[in-house]
Amino acid sequence: MSFEQILFYVFSSFLVLSAGAVVTLRNPVHSALALVLAFFNSAALWMMLEAEFLAITLVLVYVGAVMVLFLFVVMMLDINIARMREGFAQLLPIGIVVAVLMFGVMYQVYNGDRFAPGDMPVPTPHAADYENTRELGLQLYTTYVFPFELAAVVLLLAIVAAIALTLRRREGTKYQAPEKQVVTRREDRVRLVKVPSEARK
């Protein structure tokens, strides 16, 4: 077995284990952490496929941002774990049936002639000066410029939708207005009052 094959098996077995842990662990915080581990391992697998940009983005965006938000939500929300487990026994048979069916389907697909190990030629590894990010950039901003701009629209929509659904203005709250603070002049704040001196009685 070559070094890369060993690495592949290490990362993929970690991936499978941590993905299993995500659904089986009792504590949702642990589940979220297991998901982080799963993301890391899939990033490593992508890296081994020479998709360096995707791998790094997965770590940056998913591990760095999405999962942090996720953990934040999971830690803060009062999720009643006991209540979420109700009905587990009832749903289990259906779940098993679906899982077995899905497994059968996957087995059919991946055991077909298309995905057999000998069916796909092993890609020749690229030289050290090859940059996957560069190749991606050359395609993304030219050939795929339409979906690229649509991605911006989806992000814009996400901003609008997030604000529409969560922002709630309360009446009568006070906050600082820095733009007003910095333009204040002495004359606005200090008033010299001439007080006539009074004679002592």
Partner: protein, 118 residues
């Protein structure tokens, strides 16, 4: 290409090994004599008043969501910066439009007061 990432792998292995080593060391050498008082939650000397989880204002999450959106936007900038010389004016304009749309979003956030803390 992968050889470029060998240092990262070595780093990962050492980091993982070091962490595992330290935890194992603590596990083996550290004295463990738990009793019920030691393991009970502690809140300024009182019994814990309530569960540590509670409903938080959704506005906290709004800030995080808005952060993720701009984080994603940044991800699009990296490949662009790498190939800007080759894709020329066209690629430049494509990114300007992309960023302009997000600037519109930013103006929206700002004016709506989503970034303002009351």
């Amino acid at each position: 290409m992968l050889e470029n990432y060998l240092p990262v792998l070595i780093f990962l292995v050492i980091g993982f090994g070091f962490g595992a080593f330290m935890m194992a060391l603590g596990f083996i050498l550290g004295p463990r004599r738990p009793d019920s008082e030691k393991l009970s939650p502690y809140e300024c000397g009182f019994e814990a008043f309530e569960d540590s989880r509670m409903k938080f204002d959704v506005r906290f999450y709004l800030v995080a969501i808005l952060f993720i959106i701009f984080d994603l936007e940044i991800a699009f900038l990296f490949p662009w910066a790498v190939v800007l010389r080759e894709i020329g004016m066209f690629g430049f304009v494509a990114m300007v439009i992309f960023l302009a749309l997000l600037v519109v979003g930013f103006i929206y956030e700002w004016k709506k007061g989503a970034l303002q803390w009351e």
